[in-house]
Amino acid sequence: MAGLFDKFRVNRPKVDQSRSDETARATLPSDLWIKCSDCGNAMYRKVFQDNLKVCDKCGFHHKLSSHERLELLADPGSFDEWDRGLYSGNPLSFAPEYLDKLDSDRKKTGLEDAVLSGKIELNGLPVGLAIMDFGFRGGSMGSVVGEKITRVLERAGDLRIPALVVTSSGGARMQEGMLSLMQMVRTSAAVRRLNELAVPYFCLLTDPTTAGVAASFAALGDVIVAEPRAIIGFAGARVIEQTIRQKLPPGFQTSEFFQKHGFIDMVVPRADLKATLGRLIGMFSVPVLETAP
């Protein structure tokens, strides 16, 4: 795994690396050092990158960009991108700052909106993949995100290949109003179609997966895997605290919390993710291939 993201850096020169570290929530005292946003541990940037952006002291999993996630999961050279060229509109004529932010997030992430999608091979198995990117408007789900995820699910059904969605999102994109809420229905409906076709659908929940995204396709996987200590849940912690007027217990709304309460199948450290997902998807791939048209 060493040097995985170094390669990513070479491959995507357009992406401004200093900005993408912001999405990792790691504050950097200098170019050489990275500070863990959870425990404050200072690490050499090189060590941090080699460790897949996991703190070598406390094990906190910092956020990955969608391209980094792709490098982590896809067999080298196997990515065939789907649905480029889809852009968000401003259907409610929200404040013009919104358009500025879309524009700067496009430059920052190299994405058109908050999802990167396509077909990959994962340990040799074909998979229809969608990866949400928190660095683009907090991974918020507007029409484009809903459209791309729905298309991945529909196309996986057409191709009879397993679907995997990697979530990282604060929820619906407020600036699209109710159009964004309706994306919960489209994506959920597409999951149920996959269920009917007996095409397996997997979710990988990463930090954070909340609100409208948690309450739709992220909760509907045949198998749901989460990264350690990802924040997951319906309501935001601040909203809950304001409602009940008390502090929340430690570890509330983490992957481990929801695994304990019965909503997540497996919590898997980043270093083991590809191997685990490969074994998991492999369990389903024989009958899937047999039913292929």
Binding site: L86, N90, E196, A215, A219, A235, V239, I240
Partner: protein
């Protein structure tokens, strides 16, 4: 306690004055009928000027009005033989969602709706219409029953949102909502949903996926509460009025965006000002939409429902510039 909108205060004062004059007139000592007629004309004009140009925030206030008819009022007025059924068979019964069997014009059907309280005590019992996971699971259990026995499903939407609490999270609020949304996309029953008051985000949508989604004119339906949006965007909940105007939460805008199928007119000033008239309007609309949906097979309904939601989104092929 009846809530009074700031904009309607002059009208209510005028109406009070008319009432007083009428009382004096009744005594027969003086003839005030011409003054009364004049004031009544004035009141009518004032009513129009106030209510015909309501802001999004005014509508939020009307949608939350404590005298606005609630789910149980519609059940009582439009259905017969209502039998409330309780519980999700897993954990508890959720009083914030009312569900049961009833007859609509003789036909057995399944009715589900959010229920706010009529007063403070009732509101505490109903958790202000904010469901816990078991509410969505009860709804799902009964909708599946309706589907199995080919009963039409009617849902009434009126909630500030799903309850944000520790236990609600522990019991999987997000999973309960997701599962019910997904379920409603695959049920063969005709599903008619009516937003009667406040459609609060995922907690509303959790029972609001329908072949037909209707809205009363002054009801609102929003991805986030105006207060929540103002807090996130401007860190200031008092800018809710501005947020309401930005969120596109009125029936008029949602109809234009194709997210609701029909808007049902209300009497001037809101449903609470002429409740029997609203019941008539709603009954007519439910009859019409159910009649149309019954002409389709369950498979056709599921397919049309999928296609309807599949189209919801605004996607461009080139980026917008500020």
């Amino acid at each position: 306690m009846s809530m009074i909108l700031e904009v309607e205060k002059p009208l209510l004062e005028l109406e009070k004055k008319i009432k007083e004059l009428k009382e004096v007139n009744m005594t027969g000592r003086v003839d005030l009928s011409s003054e009364i007629r004049l004031l009544e004309r004035k009141a009518e004009q004032l009513k129009r000027s106030i209510y015909e140009d309501l802001s999004a925030w005014d509508r939020v206030q009307i949608a939350r009005h404590s005298l606005r008819p609630s789910t149980t009022d519609y059940i009582q007025a439009l259905f017969t033989d209502f039998m409330e059924l309780h519980g999700d068979r897993l954990f508890a019964d959720d009083p914030a969602i009312v569900a049961g069997l009833a007859r609509f014009e003789g036909r057995a059907c399944l009715v589900v709706g959010h229920q706010k309280g009529k007063d403070t005590k009732d509101n505490l019992a109903r958790n202000f219409g904010m469901p816990n996971p078991e509410g969505f699971r009860k709804a799902g259990r009964l909708m599946s029953l309706g589907h199995r026995f080919k009963m039409p499903i009617f849902t009434f939407v009126d909630t500030p949102g799903a309850y944000p609490g520790i236990e609600a999270e522990e019991r999987g609020q997000y999973e309960a909502i997701a599962t019910n949304i997904a379920l409603m996309t695959e049920l063969g029953s005709p599903i008619v949903t009516l937003v009667i008051g406040e459609g609060g985000s995922g907690g509303a949508l959790g029972i609001a996926v329908g072949d037909r989604v209707l809205m009363l004119e002054n009801s609102v339906y929003s991805v986030i509460s105006p207060e929540g949006c103002a807090t996130i965007l401007w860190r200031d909940a008092s800018k809710a009025e501005q947020a309401a105007a930005s969120l596109g939460l009125t029936s008029e805008i949602l109809l234009r965006l194709g997210l609701v199928d029909e808007v049902l007119p209300e009497p001037l000033g809101g449903a609470h000002r002429d409740i029997p008239l609203v019941f008539e309007t709603v009954a007519r609309a439910l009859r019409k939409h159910l009649g149309e949906l019954l002409l389709l097979s369950p498979e056709e309904r599921v397919k049309q429902r999928y296609d309807k939601y599949r189209r919801m989104g605004v996607v461009l092929d080139s980026p917008l510039r500020a």
